[in-house]
């Protein structure tokens, strides 16, 4: 009896401690203060962020993961970027380019094997051919490219990103930054300065006192300014020492260089320094990844609870759900503070927020109805949406907002309301799926539970109709403010209207008695199809003012999702235990 009270607390607290533990900075690696360097602020993509963010996002784009396996060890993104910038000869041997397309593999003389990762050294002899193929495919509209063309352009862009990163702080294959600084005014060096300025991926030298907030300089730009006779940027010398020390693997010199550079940046731009510090903590904590793991654990536990010791396991699963929600919420709050914007700013963050909304609603349902169904649907929705978010993360997820979207008021009202509408529709769908499975699997389904599930779904559908309608109309008002028309039948607007209409149909079908429990639940599952189409499908059309980008592989994922939903709808319509021979038939 005591254990039922204690276990939820033990499990919940230990999950929370584990999640917090991940946010701790990692110690020195082989004596190098890598974290000290990775937390330095740089300007990239129009905003100040820690170097760590650039490293993680670049590696994610190039390799699809935030770490590299090399010579039996796992390198962090920070270690990788340091190698790439200061020891390119080592980095070039690390297998970071993921290539799946068999035709592209054929182009570089490789067969499709279980190993899909290749080093720059391996690609080296084929770069000219890859460039030729990519240049031929680039003028073709992205939507009209063949699979090979898309793959080769994609690989070429990743190689170019790698190349830029390699040549941001010093030119690869030259004696190094220190020598270039010494020869800053030599006329022959001008070409090197401008090459460095053009290739630079990020700007690491902070604006000097009295300069504008966004006047960050890249090393190349600072050298160009120096060559023109202006005083050298004070950050160049420490950077050159850091570069040389890391190249020579001299930990002590590296660490002292980092300390010197840190104190310079802190004195020039303390705000940028602390922002970068916060963001690196966020990067390390990976709250959405942590939340995903906690949700899936809770989901597994709730499944077990229906078979074994429900009194013990259901509260424990609920405790895990609460911790997951806590981590998820903290992550959202952290993002909002870092970015200074409402929670939803792009497709990635919409997935994170849809999941959050569904989790919160699910927690409320669990409090109202108990039985673990609320926990099950909340964890399933949270886990599912965070997985989707993981796959939507392409590069920087906190990128700057384009002018037309740059309105915190409308992002906070229209976008948030409509996203909550998505959450609700998905949650209703999840409840309906739970109902379907319960109906077919439970050994002795009591009508009581069935009624409870239907009224849960009904309540949530009302809720989503409210939010999706208000969100849609607010979107119309925003459009009226910025484009001059309230409604233009744009694909994204149509998608939103789709959800509103479908929810309205479900409610009218219930009020008129045309659909009863089973019908309502089947329709609620179809709501998942409608919502996923309106959320992602319209982006695949690639027309209209609203589309955020074309997604290729997402198309297959979406098709599979829709197929499963249609199957579940069929299952929901079927009478219970249709697959068992009826007793009467057995006798005959």
């Amino acid at each position: 009896m005591k254990l039922t009270k204690l276990l939820p607390w033990i499990v919940g607290v230990s999950a929370l401690v584990l999640a917090l533990f991940a946010a701790m900075p990692q110690g020195k690696v082989n004596g190098f203060d890598i974290n000290g360097f990775a937390k330095m602020p740089v300007l990239e993509g129009g905003r100040v962020k820690p170097l760590d963010s650039v490293a993680r996002n670049s590696l994610l784009l190039i390799r699809g993961k935030q770490s590299v396996r090399f010579e039996g060890k796992t390198l962090s993104a920070d270690q990788w970027v340091l190698d790439l910038m200061f020891r390119p000869e080592v980095a070039d041997r690390q297998p970071v380019f993921r290539i799946d397309d068999p035709d592209v593999l054929g182009l570089i003389g490789m067969k499709q094997t279980s190993n899909a990762y290749f080093s720059f050294e391996t690609l080296g002899p084929h770069i000219d051919e890859l460039e030729k193929q990519a240049k031929a495919a680039q003028p073709i509209d992205a939507k009209k490219r063949t699979r090979f063309q898309s793959a080769v352009v994609n690989l070429y862009e990743r190689i170019y990103l790698y190349h830029r990163l390699k040549n941001t702080l010093q030119l690869a294959g030259t004696p190094g930054l220190a020598v270039q600084i010494q020869a800053v005014a030599v006329p022959q060096a001008a070409e090197m300065h401008s090459a460095l300025a053009q290739l630079a991926l990020f700007r690491m030298l902070p604006p000097l006192a009295g300069q504008k907030e966004d006047a960050w300089q890249s090393v190349g730009e600072a050298l160009e300014a120096g060559a023109m006779g202006q005083p050298l940027h004070p950050g160049l010398q420490p950077l050159s020492r850091i570069a040389a020390a890391y190249g020579a693997q001299d930990a002590a010199a590296f660490n002292s260089g980092v300390t010197e550079f840190q104190s310079l940046v802190s004195s020039l731009r303390p705000g940028a320094m602390s922002h970068a510090n916060n963001e690196i903590t966020f990067n390390r904590a990976q709250p959405f990844y942590m939340g995903m793991i906690i949700y899936v654990l809770a989901l597994l536990m709730i499944f077990v609870s229906w078979l074994w010791k429900p009194d013990l396991l259901q509260p424990t699963a609920f405790a895990l759900l609460l911790v997951g929600a806590l981590v998820h919420t903290a992550g959202l709050a952290f993002r909002i503070i870092l970015q200074g914007r409402p929670p939803v700013t792009n497709l990635y963050s919409s997935a994170v927020f849809v999941g959050w909304g569904a989790v919160v609603l699910g927690i409320i349902l669990e409090r109202l109805y108990k039985k673990g169904f609320g926990t099950a649907v909340a964890t399933a929705a949270g886990f599912g949406s965070l997985i989707v978010a993981q796959h939507l993360a392409e590069g920087d997820t906190m990128e700057m907002m384009r002018a037309v979207l740059d309105s915190n008021f409308w992002l906070a009202t229209h976008v948030v309301t409509i996203t909550i509408g998505y959450s609700g529709t998905f949650l209703a769908g999840a409840i309906a799926i739970a109902y379907t499975l319960w109906k077919h699997i439970a050994p002795d389904p009591d009508p009581e539970t069935g009624k409870a599930l239907v009224s849960m779904a009904y309540g949530i559908i009302c809720f989503s109709l409210l939010f999706s309608f208000v969100g849609t109309v607010l979107g119309g008002i925003w459009a009226d403010q910025s484009w001059g028309r309230f409604w233009g039948w744009d694909p994204k607007e149509n998608g939103a209207l789709f959800i509103v209409l479908w929810n309205a149909i479900i409610l009218h079908a219930r009020w008129s008695g045309m659909a009863r429990d089973r019908g309502i639940m089947t329709m609620a599952i179809f709501g998942n199809v409608i919502t996923s189409l309106s959320w992602f499908g319209v982006n695949m059309l690639g027309v209209g003012l609203h589309s955020y980008g074309f997604m290729d592989s997402a198309f297959y994922a979406l098709s599979i999702f829709i197929a499963t939903q249609l199957l579940l709808m069929g299952l929901c319509m079927m009478p219970r235990r249709f697959h068992f021979t009826k007793p009467s038939e057995k006798k005959a």
Binding site: V473, Q481, S482, W483, R485
Partner: protein, 386 residues
């Protein structure tokens, strides 16, 4: 007998079944309209599916078409009727139904707003270069043939003929001017190129026309493409012909002829509406985020001068912050020419306020209704417990 049928019709019009069927039809239309935007463009797809009574279809290459699906206008009308009928039939005037009343009135308003804007909304644009003053808006969806008397440097006398009239008539007299136009040929859309030595001779005799090869093209409704409206015309003044000219939106250089000291410039251009006031672009600004080409903001500082009201003031138009003036709304839409040209979208929609009101009504209505339902359900649960 008639009473019985009327009752039946009334039952049908006010039935839930009709609501659900119309909503489902509307959903399908929305789906078709979305998918059709890839080949047809938004404007074409909306006209085909939404702003029509029927969706028409005919086999490719043939001229006959048949209605295959109810269009948005028809479904919208049925839905409105159904909404009105069922509101009066089923909704009792009680406080318990107050929420639903608000929702339905709001919805009727919203649908009528869409009808109003379909019927009355006018979309134009205004392109102003820095320092320039412009007193007209242009509609790039419709063209006009303009004969402009530019003799007086202080003002232009404009005689304009809508392009659609060129399609219908052979001769057009321009009221207020001595000119009569003979329309030799009209092209709603065409492709112009340099006439090679092997090409057949042009029917134009004056201007650039004789050296241009012109081929008719199908009309496009795609936003990103423009119809190169063109025509061969012959201006005649008191029996004297001034030659056959090729006028086209695709031709840049002005062409003109002179009659009794008056110089007339011939062109085809987007239809202009002249305003009783003028806008001067003082400054256009456009910033990007440092080190990227992501636009951070666009804004146009314009001066409105309205002599009839004695008004002359500066206004800053930027994203999400349009200028509403004299029934028209000016939005920052685009820019060009190295950030010295600002393009404003100009919209006239008398019904623009309706959605705002409707939004408030429906939101409040839904909130009230769901609150009433929630209270009822909680009460029921409590009764069950006790």
């Amino acid at each position: 007998m008639t009473n019985k049928y009327l009752l039946k019709a009334w039952d049908f019009i006010s039935s839930f079944q009709l609501t659900i069927v119309s909503l489902a039809l509307l959903m399908l239309l929305v789906l078709f309209c979305t998918l059709a935007q890839v080949p047809l463009g938004t404007y074409g797809a909306v006209n085909m599916y939404m702003r029509s009574f029927f969706v028409w279809w005919g086999p490719e290459g043939s001229t006959w078409i048949i209605p295959v699906f109810p269009g948005g206008t028809l479904v919208g009308l049925i839905l409105t009727l159904n909404l009105l009928a069922s509101t009066f039939k089923r909704l009792q005037l009680t406080w318990a139904k107050a929420g639903l009343w608000l929702v339905h009135i709001g919805l009727i308003l919203l649908v009528s707003a869409e009808f109003v804007s379909a019927a009355l909304q006018v979309d134009d644009r205004m392109a102003i270069e820095q320092g320039q003053t412009v007193n007209f808006v242009e509609n790039s969806r419709s063209m006009e043939l303009a004969i402009v008397d530019v003799t007086d440097p202080n003002f232009d006398d404009v005689f304009a003929v809508p392009a659609t009239l060129l399609a219908k008539s052979k001769t057009i007299a321009l009221p207020g001017s001595p000119i009569t136009l003979n329309v030799k040929h009209y092209f709603p859309n065409a492709e112009l190129s340099n006439r090679g030595p092997m090409d057949p001779p042009s029917i134009a005799t004056m201007g650039v026309g004789p050296s241009v090869k012109i081929e008719e093209r199908a009309i496009t409704s795609n936003e990103n493409e423009m119809n190169a409206t063109s025509a061969f015309i012959e201006p005649v003044i008191s029996g004297r012909s001034y030659g056959v000219w090729l006028a086209s939106i695709a031709l840049g250089a002005p062409q003109s002829f002179t009659h009794e000291g008056h110089t007339y410039v011939i062109s085809i251009r987007p239809t202009r509406h002249y305003l009783p006031y003028a806008l001067t672009l003082k400054k256009f600004s456009h910033d990007v985020y440092a080190g990227t080409d992501i636009p951070k903001n666009f804004s146009s500082l314009v001066q409105i001068s309205n002599p009839s009201k004695g008004e002359a003031r500066d206004v800053l138009i930027y994203m999400n912050q349009p200028l509403r003036y004299e029934g028209r709304t000016f939005y920052q839409a685009s820019f060009g020419k190295g950030d010295t040209l600002s393009i404003l979208q100009v919209v006239k929609n008398p019904g623009w306020l309706l959605p705002y009101i409707s939004c408030v009504l429906v939101t409040v209505g839904l909130l009230v209704h769901f609150a009433i339902m929630l209270r009822r359900s909680l009460k029921r649960r409590q009764e069950k417990v006790s």
